[in-house]
């Protein structure tokens, strides 16, 4: 299974990644793994209070920041 584009939560330090089935895989600091929807609803694995905003962030198409482009 491949995952793409992980983002670490600034507070919990949990890692949020999108897997190839469109689920958000959240890996906690203790190694527990849970799978969630883009809205933060639990699907399977470890069940905890995943951050819905980071679930949405890693599930969205990636768009560029102005510092990455020639644009202003």
């Amino acid at each position: 299974m491949t995952v793409a584009g992980g983002v670490r939560h600034p507070y919990s330090r949990d890692l949020y990644e999108l897997d190839d089935q469109g689920r958000v895989r959240v890996t906690r600091r203790d190694g527990e793994v849970g799978y969630y929807t883009a809205q933060g609803r639990w699907l399977e694995g470890a069940k905890f209070d995943a951050d819905p905003h980071l679930c949405g962030w890693v599930s969205s198409p990636r768009n560029v920041h102005r510092m990455n482009t020639a644009s202003h």
Partner: protein
């Protein structure tokens, strides 16, 4: 050692950040204008009650200056734009090279709307019976004049709304007795003088329908401390919770220090941590930029932005302070537009969705600099309730951030409609722009 600025035991302030600037900081940024409020709550009826909405229609939208379009939407005499707000419609027309007029968009004969959309005309002719007015609103032609001998042409001129312009924005006020726009705006044009909104153009215009009252949507953007929860990926690089919050008569602002570690970020993140978060560089990806020796995240962004903007405004960019190239200056002009200052190009507008107080339309404009001949304004991209901003590639990463805000909005509306607590409660400083908004709103709607 990371990027956290040591200010001892107290919270960092925006004035601390300005003290680091390598250029002269504009006076208005140095001068704080703290609001004074004797309330910390507002009734939820403001957001959910039909009666309140009807009062807004009668006492706010018919009485206040409001953004209709940009001047570049109507560059030639005869160009027109249709502006609609809360069941009202106005025809904005360039009636002379330096003259813009606004008319209620309804025929005086049988009431048909005069123009259905933006376009160009040499006269204002109703599509129903061809009753016609000139661009100044004077009655020009009645196709069957023998049927209207009872009409006095002087009494059959199109009524007019007031029009004013600032920074390339065209404002209308339906109230014929309204004070001039310049009086209403106060010192706002001075704040924006260097940022020169007039010599910019509409690079993007995206509108989106939202299932919430227009104030629920707008107020989500009128403070920044929600970002720590709603935009957690941004926490490393912006000093949420210590924005400078200023209130004036008919406009307000908050300033979010960027590329500065704030009190809501734990630890002492490195320069690379800040830039990775800024540019959304994910785990196991390389930072795509190279820093100069000794450079901080803030100085890196300032240096790069200064060089990009040199291409637009030349060496005048040397007069811009560092803060103007990196920090977020989020203004609100009462009641419903939010132009950002500095190098930012964002301008939001919020309106009820037609006559529905439980849904709204949010406009996102990118008001951008250009080189050479002025480009034409972008066509509006319309998003439905379930279309995300991130589906519009041209918005860049801002679209993704807006989606996080929108994720809250209809849940706020639902919560307000189901709540047992009949008020919302505001923070003591960071939400002062919302308190300023609420106070002005009550003055209009309740005549306080």
């Amino acid at each position: 050692m990371g990027e956290r600025i040591d200010v001892g035991d107290r919270l960092i302030s925006y004035q601390d950040v300005l003290n680091l600037d390598t250029r002269e900081v504009p006076k208005h940024l140095r001068q704080e204008s703290r609001g004074e409020f004797d309330f910390a709550e507002a009734p939820i009826d403001i957001y959910i009650s039909r009666q309140w909405h009807e009062q807004e229609k009668a006492k706010l939208w018919k009485k206040v200056w409001q953004l209709a379009c940009r001047e570049e939407h109507i560059p030639e005499v005869g160009d027109h734009y249709v502006y609609q707000i809360a069941g009202l419609s106005y025809l904005i027309i360039r009636s002379g090279p330096d003259e813009i007029r606004a008319f209620p968009n309804a025929c005086l004969h049988r009431g048909r709307q005069l123009k259905d959309f933006a376009g160009h005309c040499s006269e204002i002719r109703c599509p129903f019976h061809a009753m016609t007015w000139d661009l100044n609103g004077d009655l020009k032609r009645i196709p069957a004049p023998w049927e209207f001998e009872h009409l006095d042409p002087e009494q059959f001129k199109l009524p007019q709304a007031k029009v004013g312009t600032w920074g390339g924005f065209v404002f209308v006020n339906p109230d014929p007795d309204a004070d001039p726009l310049s009086d209403f705006l106060g010192d706002l044009p001075d704040h924006f003088a260097k940022w020169d909104m007039k010599n910019r153009y509409v690079e993007m215009h995206v509108s989106k329908l939202l299932r919430c009252n227009w104030k629920v949507a707008q107020e989500a953007f009128m403070e920044c401390w929600h970002a720590a929860a709603t935009h957690p990926q941004t926490v490393p690089y912006a000093a949420f919770g210590v924005c400078q919050v200023d209130c004036y008569d008919n406009f307000a602002r908050f300033i979010t220090p960027s590329e500065v570690v704030g009190p809501m970020m734990p630890g002492d993140p490195s320069t690379e941590d800040l830039l990775r978060a800024t540019m959304d560089v994910r785990e196991d990806e390389e930072l795509p930029v190279k820093l100069e020796p000794g450079e901080t995240a803030r100085s890196f962004v300032v240096r790069n932005t200064r060089e990009k903007w040199r291409g637009f405004i030349g060496d005048k960019i040397e007069d811009w302070a560092d803060c103007e190239l990196v920090d977020n200056f989020t203004y609100t002009v009462f009641p419903n537009i939010m132009p950002w200052g500095g190098v930012h190009k964002i301008c939001y507008r919020f309106r009820p969705n037609g006559d529905d107080h439980r849904t709204c339309a949010m406009d996102v404009f990118y008001i951008s600099p250009f080189t050479g001949e002025r480009p034409p304004p972008a066509d509006e991209i319309r998003l439905g309730f379930d279309d995300p901003f991130s589906s519009v590639n041209g918005l860049g990463i801002v679209g993704n951030i807006l989606d996080q805000d929108c994720f809250n909005m209809e849940k706020v509306q639902f919560g307000l409609e189901t709540a047992t607590k009949q008020t919302v409660t505001f923070a003591s400083y960071q939400e002062d722009n919302i308190r300023w908004m609420q106070r002005l709103l009550r003055r209009y709607v309740e005549g306080e």
